[in-house]
């Protein structure tokens, strides 16, 4: 089965609304990393934290490794936030190798 599961698979928001993206993983992870993938390919690292809560701008990442879950909160969404959000877990002694979820496709509309 899939080691990293993200929900929802897709989400449509009106500009200004908040979004909560979920990530559940099936084995012990040392860290979760969130990426944004632009249409066309490139992945941009957003936030990375082993546990607890981390903020940057309008993004908040929360990781509860004991419960094997994490979330990404996007506040006051903007049209330019549209794209795919990927959660990736890192396991101990993995040389920073990441296991990715299948992403949440976010569309922000006016």
């Amino acid at each position: 089965g899939q080691q990293v599961q993200q929900s929802p698979a897709s989400l449509v928001l009106q500009e200004g609304e908040n979004a909560e993206l979920q990530c559940n993983f099936s084995s012990t992870a040392t860290r979760l990393q969130w990426f944004y993938q632009r249409p066309g390919g490139s992945l941009v690292s957003l936030l990375s934290n082993p546990s607890g809560t981390k903020h940057t701008g309008r993004l908040t990442s929360t990781t509860v490794t004991k419960e094997r879950r994490g979330s990404l909160h996007i506040s006051s969404s903007q049209i330019t936030d549209s794209g795919t959000y990927l959660c990736a877990m890192e396991q101990a002694s993995s040389f920073s190798k990441l296991v990715f979820g299948q992403g949440t496709s976010l569309s922000v509309v006016p």
């Binding site: 490139s42 993995s94 040389f95 296991v99």
Partner: protein
């Protein structure tokens, strides 16, 4: 902004042909990763290097791919005999260290279409 450079952006190959992709990691990053992302958004780790040394690779990579990171040259990933199932986005990433906890910086990817 990531400075991982991948070429070509797109390549189209016939079944059985070789397909070669290149990656220049970010300056000062000796650790390089290759991932395959298929049309269902599934990521598959292929191989990683530290400098010229392979750290880990999956069975498929060992059997069907040729990959290297020579000193003073771009890293490369080459499929020896392309199959339809190899059609995917191939992403290269680099990081400063090999131990856990490092941020990976990705390139734009090379999109392979096998016809």
């Amino acid at each position: 902004n990531s400075k991982v450079i991948q070429t070509p952006r797109y390549l189209v190959k016939g079944q059985g042909q070789k397909a070669k992709m290149r990656c220049i990691p970010e300056k000062g990053h000796p650790v390089v990763f290759w991932y395959q992302q298929n049309k269902n958004n599934e990521f598959k780790f292929l191989i990683n290097f530290q400098n010229q040394e392979v750290l880990q690779q999956i069975d498929m990579t060992e059997k069907r791919f040729s990959a290297e990171c020579p000193s003073n040259s771009p890293c490369s990933l080459e499929i020896q005999s392309s199959e339809a199932g190899d059609s995917a986005l191939y992403l290269c990433a680099s990081s400063r260290y090999k131990h856990s906890g490092n941020t990976l910086y990705f390139g734009e990817g090379s999109r392979l279409i096998v016809v």
